[in-house]
């Protein structure tokens, strides 16, 4: 009884204090002039929150820099629209961005599945969505009115990996492993097709990203005696997998896509990451001064190193801000979309421009290799093959 009464007292107090702390935190005033908002639709909670946080941090960094630079006569605000990476939440997330009339463009949706659900809504509202990570090739075939893809789709990367392997001496059989995510499966499908077209022996395996033990998968790879392995998935899963592969004595070529092109892969896998090839539609993320500078600022502002898609989201946010600035006050959703769709923007990671269907125009894929614990730039894959 005594305990009960004390808790009756404690709960309202705790709840009140909670509300107070929650309300007190987001209170930073902006500069002068008009305020526009940039929304981000992506997983800010749920299973894939790490990716969403990477992207959010990149966007917020871009916005903060723009606001404090004093170059613009407007203020940009950030609006998070959390869809948990889940389709069921995508409509509400999209709607929260659409309902806010200050939102001029959306970065995202982060994943392809939610894109299918949300893009029609954005299209209806005339709100531009620029995704830096939804790479399913079929999205742009659906004819969503305002969807722009600021990243080459899976076809480009999967094809490049396969073509590169086909050109290597002594590579006759290749195993393609996907992580049973839309991203991995898309890449793997294209890679298999291209490998077979190039006359190589190709096998396909699926190892879900949440596998509890990579021993079995590593065994499958080594006992099949393939010369090369394409892993279509993210670095979180590739790291333990690469470790198991190294332990089980796999000596073939390992190659993975932009989902694994992250320094965190080396941190997690340690020595096992050595020798892995990584492809990315982005130009050298560590060698160039501009991107190194970005990484430093990111580290300073956010307190951690940039992750997968951080730089891409930073670029997209900056592209939107620049587009708004170039419109010289004639800013509405329609004009922003048209300017984005028709414009060209030189970003940190790549040059952005779009085809009629909103597809990313520049399809160059670059190759990296992990050497002595560092991601080293190898070159443009098409040039490597030709040369």
């Amino acid at each position: 009884m005594l305990n009960k009464s004390i808790v009756r007292l404690a709960i309202p107090v705790a709840a009140g204090a909670l509300l107070l702390t929650a309300c007190g935190s987001d209170d930073d005033g902006g500069g002068g002039g008009t305020t526009y908002k940039i929304a981000f639709q992506g997983p800010l909670s749920g299973q894939n929150v790490a990716l969403g946080e990477n992207m959010e941090n990149g966007i917020e960094l871009a916005i903060n820099e723009a606001n404090s630079s004093g170059d613009f006569d407007f203020t940009i605000e950030y609006l998070p629209a959390d869809d948990q990476g889940a389709e069921g939440q995508a409509t509400a997330a999209a709607q929260s961005a659409i309902d806010d009339q200050d939102v001029m463009a959306v970065v995202g949706p982060a994943f392809s599945g939610p894109t299918f659900v949300a893009a029609p809504l954005y299209g209806q509202a005339g709100l531009a969505t620029v995704s830096s990570s939804a790479t399913n090739p079929t999205i742009t075939e659906e004819g969503f009115p305002t969807f722009l893809r600021a990243v080459p789709n899976d076809n480009a990367q999967g094809g490049a990996m396969a073509r590169y392997l086909a050109e290597q001496d002594g590579v006759e059989s290749v195993m393609v492993i996907d992580d049973v995510t839309p991203y991995g499966e898309g890449l793997a499908d294209v890679a298999i097709e291209e490998l077979e077209a190039a006359g190589l022996q190709a096998q396909r395996e699926s190892v879900p990203a949440d596998t509890v033990d990579y021993g079995g998968a590593a065994r499958t790879v080594t006992s099949s005696g393939v010369d090369a392995l394409i892993y279509a998935g993210y670095y979180e899963a590739l790291a333990p997998f690469a470790t198991r592969l190294a332990e089980s004595g796999f000596e073939g070529i390992g190659i993975s896509g932009d989902g694994s092109n992250d320094d965190e892969f080396i941190n997690l896998a340690g020595g096992a990451a050595e020798g892995w090839f990584l492809t990315c539609p982005c130009t050298d993320a560590s060698a160039e001064d501009a991107t190194q500078d970005f990484a430093d600022r990111y580290q300073e502002e956010i307190g951690e190193a940039p992750g997968t898609y951080s730089a891409e989201s930073y670029d997209v946010a900056n592209m939107i801000i620049q587009t708004i600035a170039d419109l010289n006050g004639d800013v509405n959703r329609q004009s922003v979309y048209e300017a984005l769709a028709g414009g060209e923007y030189e970003g940190l990671t790549k040059t952005f421009s779009f085809t009629d269907t909103g597809e990313f125009e520049n399809e160059s894929i670059f190759l990296y290799q992990v050497e002595e614990g560092v991601r080293g730039y190898v070159g443009n894959i098409d040039e490597l093959i030709a040369g």
Partner: protein, 479 residues
């Protein structure tokens, strides 16, 4: 372990055994509990962790001001409770006494006292008379229901499109699921941790029969025609799962249903030639074509809301009749004591199967609506976690009680959406989890329990019966 060791070494006298060090006194134990709670709360409301710096958040939270605020709050609570307890208790008692209606039954005749006691008294009187009014007059009941229905029909016109989307895609959807799950768990007393599997089957039926999946259906159907097909499919799936497993007791049934869900989920995920896997498949939207009049549900959420409302009201109407029928009474008997029910001639297997199949088909209807509202489905929409969540919605509201289940589900689905703006979105499910724990500790019967369930719980607290047919009660009498 330790008392075993001490008894061997030396035989302590009874006095020494009874002697307590100062820190063993309940007062200081409570102090320790309060301090621990404050530290945990400081972590809960603290900063987000950072990559590559494992201790960042811990350091910030222990050195920041937050922890002092929390310590202050909880130490104050502790102090009030320990040192001002008698005074507080006296105050409460006085208010209660003054607020109590006069003993001679002349409630309402004597004017209520002024101040706080008067307020309490008036509120109590008001709710009591309102309650009486509704319970005794069927007309008022119907009137109240009608008014509620009108409000519900007009609701989407009063809220933003964002909330309309939330109401349709999340609240409405989980309401239908919870109503179905309530039949299985709340009425028949079977623990089902795989309920979303049927939801998935319904959704994939919709996609299949409207030609959205990679495989061609024999005939393409309108979404409204898919509903009976999906109901039958889920019914069959429910029977298929139920028939071999229903003789299992509570916990075994729970893990088997969970396994069933996992199998359905993995099939949807990996059988890409049929389901489209994680990359998903499209699904048609609802449309009606009666020749002279046709309508198509598009992107706008409001029409779906009304459609969904119609389905929910229809299902509710059927279920409420079922609850008080022979079937409903049989379920109650099974839930309260399966052996006794069987021995008095209730065909337990048949009625359990019936509950399973009815629940499953409700979930299937929800699946069809969901798929057609989103126009797209993939396997990741049917995670095992959702089944677990659905079960907590039902118990949170008060299982077995339809208004309770509706209310509980609506609140728990609404809460994370509401918290969207006030806390870090990443943390919303942490608060949800905390709320579940606190709620279960202080109101185990749920938000709005059914009267029968309340009685069962009371009996269980007094130790004269089990509150559900999930086997014996948790062991451990009070120490």
């Amino acid at each position: 372990m330790s008392h075993g060791v001490t008894t061997e070494k030396k035989t302590p006298s009874a006095a020494r055994l009874r002697k307590q060090s100062w820190y063993q006194q309940p007062r200081y134990r409570r102090l320790a509990a309060m301090v621990t709670t404050a530290v945990v709360m400081a972590q809960v409301t603290g900063v987000q962790g950072a990559r590559n710096d494992l201790f960042y958040a811990l350091e910030e939270n222990f050195t920041g001001t937050g922890i002092w605020i929390w310590l202050g709050i909880f130490l104050a609570i502790w102090a009030v409770r320990e040192f001002l307890h008698g005074w507080l208790r006296g105050l409460l008692d006085r208010v209660k006494e003054m607020a109590a209606p006069p003993a001679d039954g002349a409630a309402g005749k004597t004017p209520p006292p002024a101040g706080l006691p008067g307020l309490v008294r008036r509120a109590a009187d008001g709710s009591r008379s309102l309650n009486g009014l509704f319970r005794t007059h069927r007309g008022y009941q119907l009137g109240g229901m009608a008014a509620l229905l009108v409000v519900l029909i007009l609701l989407p016109l009063m809220v933003s499109t964002f909330w309309q989307q939330v109401m349709v895609d999340q609240i409405g959807m989980f309401l239908l699921i919870a109503i179905g799950l309530n039949v299985v768990v709340g009425w028949a007393g079977m623990l089902d941790l795989g309920f979303i599997a049927f939801f998935a089957i319904g959704a994939y039926s919709a996609a299949f029969w409207t030609g959205g999946l990679p495989v061609e259906p024999p005939v393409e159907l309108n979404n409204f025609l898919v509903i009976p097909v999906a109901v039958v499919t889920c019914l069959l799936a429910g029977l298929l799962l139920g028939a071999p497993t229903l003789r299992l007791r509570g916990d075994y049934l729970a893990i088997v249903t969970l396994g069933f869900h996992e199998i359905v989920y993995l099939t949807a995920k990996n059988w890409t030639e049929f389901t489209g896997g994680t990359r998903g498949a499209s699904s048609d939207r609802f449309s009606i074509d009666l020749g002279f009049w046709s309508y198509e549900w598009g992107l706008d959420p409001a029409p779906y809301y009304w459609l969904q409302l119609a389905f929910i009201v229809g299902v509710l109407f059927l279920f409420l009749r079922l609850e008080h029928s022979r079937v409903g009474r049989a379920w109650t008997a099974i839930r309260e004591d399966e052996v006794a029910a069987a021995s008095t001639g209730v065909d337990t297997v048949r009625f359990k199967l019936l509950a399973f199949a009815i629940g499953a088909s409700t979930s299937g209807i929800a699946g069809v609506i969901y798929a057609s509202k989103l126009g797209f489905i993939n396997s990741e929409m049917f995670l095992v976690l959702l089944s677990v969540l659905a079960l907590s919605y039902v118990v949170f509201g008060g299982m077995g009680s339809i208004p309770g289940v509706l209310l509980g589900t609506a609140i728990l689905v609404w809460l994370p959406e509401y918290l969207r703006d006030s806390v870090d979105p990443q943390d919303r499910y942490m608060y949800l989890g905390g709320l579940l724990v606190v709620m279960m500790i202080y109101r185990p019967q749920g938000l709005w329990p059914s009267r029968r369930r309340q009685r069962e719980l009371r009996m269980s607290q007094e130790g004269t019966g089990a509150a559900d047919a999930l086997g014996a009660q948790p062991g451990g009498a009070q120490g």
